[in-house]
């Protein structure tokens, strides 16, 4: 079962505990155990113009490795970084070319520092032209890794976007949604806050249940929440729904 299944209420309180950049790393770290991962790393490649342009790195890698990476200027030759700039789809490090002495050296050294046998990176595109990359690594066997990947792909996409959303929030100093909720999204949330499930909301609004889910998922993303109860709680606290808007 994925982290974002509604039955995992514990995940909401963990998510709610992320109030600052300092709390992001422990949050990401806690995910490793849950998903059987070795490391996770978030890198903001480009943040919105209005924010002082500096790379933001939140990772569980040992400090000695990040220092080595900087000292050797691996950023300039790292195929993961160049793949992130070009690709929209998540990519496995095994798909990348490891040709080149320095590239081979970098991957070998990463192994020595215990970064992980396998890596999977998720490019993130944001609402203000921002780009980021969220990577997870694993020491699982190759066949085990294939299974892990397919079962966790959706959760990892959600986590990648959630972490990016938090970084934007902290960097901007503003937790209001960047993309506003549409009238339909608020309408769906409003009925959900009154206890209706998706089928009931669909019936109420005379639309398909699939479309209700689409609106719900969009609201979830815009409010940077992880599951149904989280998005409802957030919507109510932001006064987007409630008795006044019923």
């Amino acid at each position: 079962m994925g982290l974002f299944d509604d039955s995992f209420e514990l995940s909401v309180s963990e998510v709610e505990s992320v109030h600052s950049m300092d709390e992001l790393r422990p949050f990401v770290s806690r995910l490793l155990g849950r998903y059987g991962l070795r490391h996770a790393a978030y890198l903001a490649v480009a943040l919105p113009d209005q924010i002082d342009p500096h790379p933001v790195l939140v990772c569980t890698y040992p400090a000695q490795w990040t220092q080595r990476y900087i000292d050797q200027d691996y950023l300039a030759i790292d195929p993961v970084i160049s793949a992130a700039a070009t690709n929209l789809l998540p990519f496995d490090w095994s798909e990348l070319s490891h040709r080149g002495i320095r590239v081979k050296q970098m991957f070998d050294e990463a192994q020595e520092f215990g970064i992980g046998r396998h890596g999977l990176s998720f490019p993130v595109r944001g609402p203000l032209g921002d780009h980021a990359l969220f990577t997870v690594t694993s020491d699982a066997s190759t066949s085990e890794w294939q299974k892990l990947k397919s079962s966790y792909m959706r959760d990892m996409q959600l986590i990648a976007h959630f972490v990016h959303g938090k970084v934007l929030e902290f960097e901007r100093g503003d937790s209001a949604p960047i993309k506003p909720l549409s009238a339909r999204e608020r309408e769906v949330l409003g009925w959900a806050a009154r206890g209706l499930n998706n089928d009931q909301i669909a019936f109420k609004l005379n639309i398909s249940e699939r479309v209700v889910r689409a609106y719900f998922e969009s609201a979830r993303h815009k409010l940077n929440c992880v599951n149904r109860s989280h998005v409802l709680a957030r919507a109510i606290s932001l006064r987007l729904v409630g008795p006044a808007t019923a």
């Binding site: 070319s97 339909r184 398909s208 699939r210 998922e217």
Partner: protein
């Protein structure tokens, strides 16, 4: 067969890109009468500048380009994508890290692809199957797609299609729609059953950016 081409890798695929932009002119500008920009016979918009992922349908026998579509995440700026278009009466601004949008979906005019209804339907299915295959690989939950009245008939004939979210009659000669469909193994199975295509349609080769470039 479907070839995936990332916008930034266009230079490696001049034939496919040329065929696509010209076909888009024929379909969206001439046939459907949409308010699109055509320059030197090629239809392009600002989405094409944002490094989208193109799906290019190729004839299994001749290798001719028979259809194309464009995929983008929905998490980007509001100024791009479906939400940017003023085509729809209701603002469509669905955004999620697990929902991508599909635009400029078309069967290319030409002897093999549009000559027969069956061939055209097959191209449509290949494009949709490819979107579902890569959606499953990428952990997506849904795909949001823009289509026109002609496509509605194709979907009805095939007994599979997106669920309509919004409609516009202001677009061109025919109404246009935004619809969503679920990215699940079940959807893939339904599409495969409806199309009679039982295998993966995405070309099995590494994306260019991930290949070694000498």
């Amino acid at each position: 067969m479907i070839r995936l081409i990332q916008g930034r890798d266009s230079a490696y695929y001049p034939c496919e890109m040329e065929a696509m932009f010209r076909a888009r002119t024929a379909v969206f500008h001439r046939r459907l009468g949409w308010n699109v920009t055509v320059h030197k016979g090629r239809e392009r918009d600002r989405c094409d500048e944002e490094n989208p992922l193109y799906l290019i349908a190729l004839d299994d026998v001749t290798g001719d380009v028979t259809g194309s579509a464009r995929l983008m995440p929905t998490t980007g700026p509001l100024t791009f994508g479906v939400s940017a278009s003023d085509m729809f009466e209701e603002p469509i601004d669905l955004a999620s890290g697990t929902v991508w949008e599909c635009t400029r979906f078309c069967v290319h005019p030409g002897r093999r692809s549009s000559g027969s209804l069956r061939a055209a339907t097959r191209v449509c299915f290949e494009l949709n199957l490819a979107a579902c295959e890569l959606g499953l690989r990428a952990g997506l939950t849904q795909i949001q797609t823009v289509y026109d009245q002609l496509m509605v008939k194709v979907y009805e004939r095939a007994a599979w299609g997106p669920t309509q979210v919004a409609r516009s009659t202001r677009v061109g000669k025919l109404p246009a729609y935004v619809g969503v469909w679920d990215v699940t193994p079940r959807t893939l199975a339904e599409m495969r059953a409806a199309s009679g295509i039982a295998h993966d349609v995405i070309e099995a080769r590494p994306l260019p950016a991930l290949r070694e470039v000498s």
